[in-house]
């Protein structure tokens, strides 16, 4: 039976995708912060034989038995990885690679062999059948509701119901397992719970985006959120928001372009990640580039002012700019009135220049005293340290230097402004 009109069908598909995305992002956040993202991938694949066998044995797709079989498969996967490590000395990532591909392959074989008898085909497992979700409904309180929505909403409700009271245990176990164990937290049980939750969320994700792209729902929104906020509950909430937003936008775009909803949803999630990586306020690419440019510009301005100041001190002509940026800085300082005429400074320009020269000469004096370096070794380090010394550090160095106001070259160190 179909769920209402064409518009209504789309709404049901979007609602289902959103609920699944939220469930996956919630679980995925915990995997990502534990640096175990690929475990989601492994479990996502390894549950297939469980699902296939359960369905072959007569379980209804999306039913409780299927979820149970998937959880069992997930735990078997993790158990086998541990066994491989203990018995064969296989590293955990390689072990996971061996186990989940074997189980997935077994699942594919079972699905293909049983294709005539079960309502499950390989391509829908791989790519999902979000578009078909509204066609399979069950009556809920007199309304025809897609079966996929009912099961995934139940999954989300169960995950939230478990996550809220046990969140603190997840945080503690993930951040500091030794400390958590010492405080009496049942770390092994907490981890097993997370693996079971991953299996359940993954099975819910199968229908929407398929076994391969469910990893995108688990990992990508959490990875994007982690770039932007720095407390776990905020990461989780933002990841859920990203995932739901990605599901809605992805579905609409897929409808518009008449292509696979699962594929476009994953593309939208990745696009969100790219934007987050570019624009993250502290660690984003744009912020980092901007920081470097700002610094280079400050260095160029300070170098130019110091060059003019030194020329004034020695009654000579200033050394020429050493880079195009410094050239530009010289022009800008003239426009702003800091540099006046050929080699003269305004009062403000003079103060700024004096602090650079002061930092430079203090550093030379300090190095000369503490590092026992020959005179010609003092200038190069001072050339870059001069841009990094603050007022407090300058005063500290000055207090430490006993002899007069001169630097090792015998030149005067300007006083603090």
């Amino acid at each position: 039976m179909m769920a209402g009109t064409a518009g209504g069908m789309h709404l049901w598909a979007i609602a289902t995708a959103s609920v699944v995305a939220a469930a996956c992002a919630l679980v995925g956040t915990l995997l990502v912060v534990r640096r175990q993202s690929l475990l989601g991938d492994a479990i996502g694949h390894a549950v297939l034989p469980g699902i296939a066998l359960a369905v072959l044995a007569g379980a209804r797709p999306g039913g409780v038995a299927v979820f149970g079989a998937a959880v069992a498969c997930a735990l078997v996967t993790v158990g086998l990885v541990q066994v491989l490590r203990a018995v064969a000395g296989l590293a955990e990532d390689a072990g996971a690679g061996v186990v989940f591909t074997s189980l997935f392959a077994a699942g594919v074989v079972i699905v293909t062999l049983g294709a005539s008898r079960i309502d499950l085909d390989a391509s829908c497992v791989l790519y999902g059948i979000l578009e078909m979700v509204p066609f399979d409904t069950v009556p809920v309180g007199g309304v025809e509701v897609p079966r996929g929505f009912v099961s995934s909403a139940a999954v989300l409700a169960a995950l939230v119901a478990v996550a809220v009271p046990t969140w603190k245990l997840q945080v503690f176990s993930a951040f500091d397992p030794d400390g958590a164990r010492a405080a009496g937290v049942p770390v092994a049980a907490v981890t097993t719970g997370l693996l079971a939750a991953t299996a359940v969320a993954t099975v819910a994700g199968f229908e929407v985006v398929g076994a391969v792209l469910v990893v995108a729902l688990l990992v990508v929104p959490a990875a994007a959120a982690e770039l932007l906020v720095h407390r776990l509950h905020r990461v989780a909430l933002l990841a859920v928001a990203f995932a739901v937003g990605g599901a809605i936008v992805g579905y609409l775009l897929a409808y518009r372009w008449n292509t696979s909803a699962g594929g476009v949803i994953a593309v939208v999630l990745v696009a969100q990640y790219v934007v987050a990586a570019l624009l993250a306020p502290e660690d984003g690419c744009v912020a980092q580039v901007a920081g470097r440019v700002r610094f280079a510009w400050r260095v160029a301005r300070e170098d130019r002012l110091a060059a003019v100041w030194r020329a004034m001190e020695q009654r000579g002509t200033p050394a020429g700019p050493r880079s195009a940026l410094e050239h530009l800085a010289g022009w800008w300082l003239r426009v702003r009135g800091r540099i006046v005429g050929a080699a003269s400074l305004s009062a403000a320009g003079r103060r700024e220049a004096e602090m650079v020269v002061r930092s430079h000469r203090l550093w030379e004096a300090w190095l000369g005293r503490h590092a026992d370096l020959p005179l010609d070794h003092l200038h190069p380090p001072a050339e870059w340290v001069e841009h990094h010394l603050g007022e407090a550090a300058r005063r500290r160095i000055e207090a430490e230097l006993e002899h007069g106001r001169g630097d090792p070259h015998g030149r005067e160190i300007p006083p603090e402004a």
Binding site: R181, A183, V229
Partner: protein, 267 residues
């Protein structure tokens, strides 16, 4: 803790705060700590000193049940770990933690209250207040909301100390709290530890720096795969004991340990 006040059955001596009895610890099959007998009677600042790989951290982890005992027992005020857990505050080594993890300094300190909350209760106003007080005690109230990885090494260590304070424990076990920490943070950490001692707590510290050990600790244990000596700092840190701890006399213990691990025989 009624147990701590009860005289032991064997005499009128009070039950020791911590008692290692014939403790042997192995990683896998390889023993790394042999037959340790160590009794700490009264609250004090207690240092566990020894060279790298001597099993100092292992001793703490064994006491906390983080590594299994091959033999022997550990009792806290006369009761086993399972009944004493809530009375013990633990500060793990810095390396055991992922510093990029999305938690704030405050979140980390709040973890100290989780033990007494049980598995399902969420931290409330009382726990938050306790976490804020603990952060203030280590002088970090102003960086409470900072992500833990954005603090300096010394500040991170103080956050962990604050977490142990929030636990309101009777016994504190700290694993190398002074490692990778600037001099000012060291002083601050030491001041907090001294104030814990002053309020009647036992503070056990794994420490590698002999120079500061002599001035900081009331009592010490010298360890190198086995207990070399334990007691008041002045009587234990003798040239003879130090030579026995640091001169690598344990080569035989290492060889036997490897032989046990490989089911073989020493040469």
């Amino acid at each position: 803790m009624t147990d701590s006040a009860t005289p032991s059955a064997t005499g009128d001596r009070p039950v020791p705060l911590v008692e290692f009895h014939d403790v042997t610890v192995a990683y896998g099959r390889r023993p790394v700590l042999w037959n340790v007998d160590l009794v700490i009677d009264a609250p004090c600042l207690f240092g566990i000193i020894g060279p790298n790989g001597a099993g100092k951290s292992t001793l703490l982890k064994a006491a906390l049940g983080l590594v299994p005992l091959v033999g022997g027992t550990v009792r806290f005020a006369g009761v086993p770990l399972a009944r004493a857990r809530h009375t013990i505050g633990y500060v793990p080594q810095r390396e055991s933690v992922d510093w990029d993890f999305p938690v704030s300094a405050f979140d980390v300190v709040l973890m100290g209250t989780y033990g007494r909350l049980g598995w399902f209760r969420r931290p409330g106003p009382a726990e938050r207040a306790s976490a804020r007080d603990s952060l203030a005690r280590v002088g970090l109230a102003d960086v409470a909301d900072r992500q833990i990885g954005r603090l300096s090494g010394g500040q991170q260590q103080r956050v962990f100390l604050a977490r142990a304070l929030a636990q309101e424990a009777a016994i504190y076990l700290l694993d190398e709290p002074m490692a990778g920490v600037d001099a000012r943070s060291q002083e601050q950490i030491f001041d907090v530890l001294a104030s814990l001692r002053a309020s009647g707590r036992l503070v056990v510290v794994v420490h590698h720096d002999l120079r500061t050990a002599a001035e900081w600790f009331d009592r010490v244990a010298l360890i190198d795969m086995r207990l070399v000596a334990a007691g008041p700092t002045a009587t234990v840190l003798t040239p003879d004991n130090l030579r026995r701890t640091y001169s690598g006399q344990v080569e035989l213990l290492r060889e036997v340990g490897l032989a046990v691990a490989e089911r073989g025989r020493t040469s």
